[in-house]
Symmetry: C2
Subunit: 356 residues, 2 copies
């Protein structure tokens, strides 16, 4: 067992959004300070952090100063430029590790990694040009979806194909970027597992949650998910295999499709995950603290839930419902301190505790 | 119903200790920023606050700047000098109000206030000199305890009298400061109620907790307290009467002795209270959020508990037990980020969730 990070040490967090904010509070609860690195001014995490650096990911001197001021570095999002990681890693450890980041940054590498582990995914094929796409359509058919390998946002970088005749338009829609074609999955529901692996290799997972998306954005997570006992065990087991294969340290979110043929991994996120917010009000140790425990060399919390929870994201104008939600019994409100409620912007969430 | 403080507003908190720290986190969760005012450098609350001012309570220019930078002011402790309150109140509202502070700052005024409300307390009498003490001993007898009217710390400013012969020594022990003599109470247990009153006059209370002290310091609070249904109702009702009588806004801790003749109020604290820390893991809305809701013009949370909890304070060397506690199931750890573990110093607490 590694020596834990000493009390009063500083954890650097790349990204100052709501995930960084909630990580910062959890770090404080375990006696640590945080230093937030974020290009945008007045980040949500800055309201609850010891220190904030406002600088871009291309500002290597600022990254160096940041890394020298902290004891370890973690992150709240996966699209960190390689050059920034190089600059940081020269000064101090980064958890989760770069392999996890590299895999989650590229849909093709992610799918190939899962495939090599023998874990089921949607059928996929690499597409770099029109010839590749024609071959991929032969193999996978339609309906299918062409996605850039590197992450787009808000459904950008994706194009649906309902017939082979859509090929040219789909390639144009993603501007010919390196891509993969994914077959559509016929699934009954989507669930996710928030799992953690410690520095000493201990692995644990919270109970799977059932997710509902709208317009590509998570709306609700319900605990427990409607899964058979075998499916539940399978989901946790698959998440554990992914963490172990990566020698991962920290919390990971693993999204699954539930199909008639079993569980299929949709995607992995090498960080705390929106579908794990329910743990704040359902568990003694929430996902944010679990992540800090993992990267700081603590034993993991046991993850057992003491209450059922339905988590609802407050997106855009949903923030106007807060006064009504504040009058509900058993509703725990978590706002992110964002000034402007733009459409699609995550402004907060509510954990509704279901008494058992 | 008053208009709530708008999202993004700043709440000023006098005092940067652990109560200020946990208030700051709760304020952020409701979308507010905090500005901590604290004489000592590197206060625990500073790790989770938007801004910190390090200045004394006699620094009137600093107090003025602080008050102008915030929308409302609250506090985490009751011994704020009157001159500081005057300087602040000239700029912005302070909750809870000054009457509550004045009462809790002076044991005689507090006892007289409760007596006027018809609420039972220990027998008491004002003692300004040896003549008063002789009269008070005639009336109250021994064993009894001579306490300075203004708060001492760690049992300072108190002297026990086992016979009238102890009078001179007791007066000397408190250096002849204005005092009260209190009769000893024969009680079976101590319980406390954490109650809240909103800007619109709504009152609510969390379930009473049962407190165990050692060497004058709270060690554990157990929820639920061992009380009859009548005692439970009585405790909550008495707390509500106190809040209403003061037109109080915010959270108050009311400590009771349970005696054969009924409940006796030991003392009131016009702030969040150590015996309410259990609410962090037992309720959807904890005492810190309840206080912020009250002073920010929100509706109060309903205070119902979804789990039983035993709260244990981690005092001084208790901090060395954290690695073992971290391995317990259902133990929620809350550390305060204090660098040095001095004897008697509150370093953190653990909420052990008891599944129901």
């Amino acid at each position: 067992m590694s020596r834990p990070l000493p009390a009063g040490a500083t954890i650097g967090i790349l990204g100052g959004g709501q995930l960084g904010r909630m990580l910062s509070v959890a770090a404080a609860r375990l006696g640590y300070r945080t230093h937030i690195y974020e290009p945008a001014a007045n980040p949500p995490a800055g309201d609850v952090a010891h220190r904030v650096t406002t600088a871009g990911y291309d500002d290597l001197p600022a990254l160096g100063d940041f890394a020298r001021s902290v004891d370890i570095v973690t992150y709240e999002f996966e699209n960190i430029p390689t050059s920034a990681l190089d600059a940081l890693e020269a000064q101090c450890p980064i958890h989760p590790n770069r392999r996890a980041l590299a895999i989650s940054q590229d849909r093709l590498i992610e799918k190939a990694f899962l495939h090599d582990l023998g874990i089921a995914t949607a059928p996929f094929a690499a597409v770099d040009d029109a010839g590749d796409l024609a071959e991929a359509l032969d193999e996978i058919g339609t309906p299918s979806i062409l996605k850039t390998r590197r992450l787009g946002y808000d459904g950008k970088g994706q194009a649906r194909l309902d017939s082979t005749g859509d090929a040219a338009a789909a390639l144009a829609a993603i501007s010919g970027a390196p891509a993969i074609l994914e077959g559509f999955i016929d699934f009954s529901r989507e669930v996710s597992v928030i799992a953690a692996r410690s520095l000493s290799g201990e692995v644990t997972a919270f109970d799977p949650g059932e997710n509902v998306h709208r317009a590509g954005i998570l709306r609700t997570t319900t605990i427990p998910a409607r899964l058979s006992e075998a499916q539940r065990t399978d989901a946790v087991f698959l998440a554990g295999r992914i963490l172990n294969a990566l020698k991962y340290v920290g919390v990971m979110g693993v999204e699954f499709f539930v199909t008639r043929k079993g569980l299929i991994v949709n995607e992995i996120a090498p960080r705390v995950h929106n579908s794990g917010h329910w743990t704040q009000n359902g568990c003694a140790v929430d996902q944010f603290e679990q992540h800090i425990r993992a990267i700081a060399g603590w034993p993991l919390g046991d993850g057992a839930r003491h209450a059922d929870v339905v988590m609802e994201n407050l997106i855009g104008d949903d923030i106007d419902r807060v006064p009504a939600i504040a009058r509900e019994a058993n509703a725990a409100i978590h706002l992110y301190g964002k000034a402007e409620a733009r459409p699609g912007r995550k402004m907060g969430h509510v954990n509704r505790i279901v008494r058992r």
